[in-house]
Amino acid sequence: MESLTLSDVEQKYYSELFLSCDVDNAKKVASNGKVLELFRAAQLSNEVVLQITELCGATRLGHFGRSQFYIALKLIALAQSGLPLRLESLNTVRDLPLPRFVMGKNEQETRHMVMFTDAENQGPFLPRPPGRVQAKKVSAHEMIQPCVPTADPQPDTTSPVVSPHQSPPTSPLAWRKHKRQASGGNVDRQPSVPGVVWPHFREAQPGPVPGDGMWSAHSPPPVQESWVSFTDTPPSSTLPMHPPSAQTESSTVRTVPSAMTTNEIQRQTSGYDDPWKITDEQRQYYINQFKTIQADLTGLIPGSAAKEFFTKSKLPILELSHIWELSDFDKDGALTLDEFCAAFHLVVARKNGYDLPEKLPESLMPKLIDLDDSAGVPEPAPEVGFSASPVEVTPNKSPSMPSLNQNWPELNQSNEQWETFSERSSSSQTLTQFDSNIAPADPDTAIVHPVPIRMTPSKIHMQEMELKRTGSDHTHPTSPLMTKPPELSDETKLAAAIKFPGTAVGDGYSSSDSFTSDQEPISSAVNRQRSHSGTSPEGLKVVAPPPPPPRPHASHSRSSSLDMNRNFAAVPAGSQQAGVVAFPPAVPPRPLPTQTSVPHGHRSVEGDGLPAHTSTSPQQMPEQPNFADFSQFKAFAVDQPADDGENPSDGGQAERLPEAAGTMRTAKNDVQAEERNATTVNSAKVSTPLAPPPKPVRRRLKSEDELRPDVDDLPQKSNVIATVLATQPSIPRSLGKDKKAIQASIRRNKETNTVLARLNSELQQQLKDLLEERISLEVQLEQLRPFSHL
């Protein structure tokens, strides 16, 4: 099939004809039907029509498609112009006139057609451009003639001038015939104009005659509309002259749509007004009707109100539904002023017998869209796009949900890391408590020997409970770190370190239970250690041993505050004397033990280095005080012969001297205990549960002190200077501390306890959450397993 090259006018003309014939909207037309009638209206012989049908291919297919239909119309134009019917000539011949179809088969109409043919015959004689102009003028002239008998108020002065110039011999005959028709029409219309209207309605819709009466009664203007439409259909004027019959009625009904389409096409091609256009008079009437329902012209008429209003027209619901689909351009379920006018116009047109168009004519579209004709057509496409976009957004939201879920576990993980850090800090605090309890251990054992026997069973249970708690707390940080071996070694060291504070805490409880007065010196020692920096603890340790022993003796003999103050004053004096005496003899013996212990010192340094790196600043505090403790013991051991010499000379002095001797004796006993065998120590622990708590604590502390002081011994001079400096500032600080400081320290301890308790509760909650997550994950796995199998 060859592709036809059609002009814009031809495409519009042919498409409208095709739509008028395609009643079923199936995009194909049966060979028998409106197409046959249309071809017969072309005033061609049956043989020519059959030939055209065969050439366009409709005979082979059995129906007319759009392409076959266009080819057929083209061939009809060729036949009407007198050219031979050939497919090759479809595209070869140019400036082919449009095919013309006569509405009826009356003799008068055939004569009218003869006039058209005469005009065409004259065309070739003249040049093409002038011929077109003359043809248009002739057609315009002939079109205007029927209007004259209808009393058209606007007569054209140019038409009579043109007509006699072009065709003088035939024009008088045409005028005479038209005059006769006009005279007949005038005679019929003048006596009974309303009569003419009534018969028209009755013939159109005999059934709803009373409805028509009501309609005309309610709305007089539609009568005018019908009058206007009556003029638009000149052939219908002949109907009242003929007697009414079913055949004539059916034929007229069938010819009406073709007449409408031909009139529309001719007017559009000729540039005349659109038949669907609303006149100013009609629009004003429609606006008045709009105001009766909606006072605000910019407002909307709801669907329900529109339904009630248009139902009065008595049109079928299906037709009203179709009119609504056409007029409700924005599909919002309501009518604007323009939409209402369009709907009303369609209702009136349908009421007068016009067929509803398949699409809303451009003249009836809302004004905003009429301003941009090109925008009107593609408007539904972007609407579809907009409707699709929210659907696309929805799947985007669903993936965001799992991302939010992923954020939550990350937050939980970060919390866990923070908690592990806090656990480490708590362990360092326990180390601090352990170190603070070292000093009171010695005087407690010397003074409280008989009392522990009575309280030991409950104390042992308390210690065991604390050990278990520390173990359970330690498992949480170990679980994430189990994967790496080097971390395991660090954990073992941390565990070993943590064990000491547990036992220290136990000793603290025992001392507090035995004597309430001992609490004061313990708290004072803790304050001193905490308030000082790294180097100051060494000074404190040097001073620490002397104060505890004198206080209990004083308490037994004297209970007044004045005596307590004297004791405090005496303590620093004793410490000063010890320092001065110890310095000169310490220099020579220290290098010897350092040489022998060099390899051990290196090993100890390496071992301490690892935990030092892993530990935080609060952990470093307790390690340094241990160094000071070792130096204290060495000083006492070296000074033994000197002290023995001093004792007999000072036999007559006050209680101060015998107190110092007591402390030296306790140190000697401790050293001897360390020298004993490990096996005896183990047997002692097993046989006597009362003794084990103090002994292993002391031995472990001493072993650590021996290792750490080696590091200090290497730079002897620096250590000596440091000790001197530490001793000097410690004196005023000890004096400055009062009960207020003690209370502050108590409060601080309580706060730390509350913080630790909170941490424990949070950790427990996290454990529960993790367990729940594990359970849910397991359930999901079980659910997914059958799917995985499939």
Binding site: S304, L318, S321, E325
Partner: protein, 139 residues
Amino acid sequence: MAVCIAVIAKENYPLYIRSVPTQGELKFHYTVHTSLDVVEEKISGVGKALADQRELYLGLLYPTEDYKVYGYVTNSKVKFVIVVDSSNTSLRDNEIRSMFRKLHNSFTDVMCNPFYNPGDPIQSKAFDGIVSAMMVQAS
């Protein structure tokens, strides 16, 4: 494209059903009728699993030797069924979704028409046009 398109009301009675070619109309009616059981099962299942029912598209209801049946349910429990020829393997899931979306939009336009009574068969030219565009072009 589709060989059959049907719109079923909330009470499971047909509002609109159209198939091509016409000679197999009864077979398609039977297919649509049986697919309603699957639709009901999916609706109840979705209701139990998910609290909020966001997805209106039910996907492939059940494949047969010759045809594939897809379902779609609106929030007002109106069901759309589209039957596609199995031989049309190039048809993608997104195209089925777009067809259902267009069908749903056109259905809402019909419901917005004040002259249409809910529950009556759909006799809209615009709706017919959209359905025809989605149906197989029988020539």
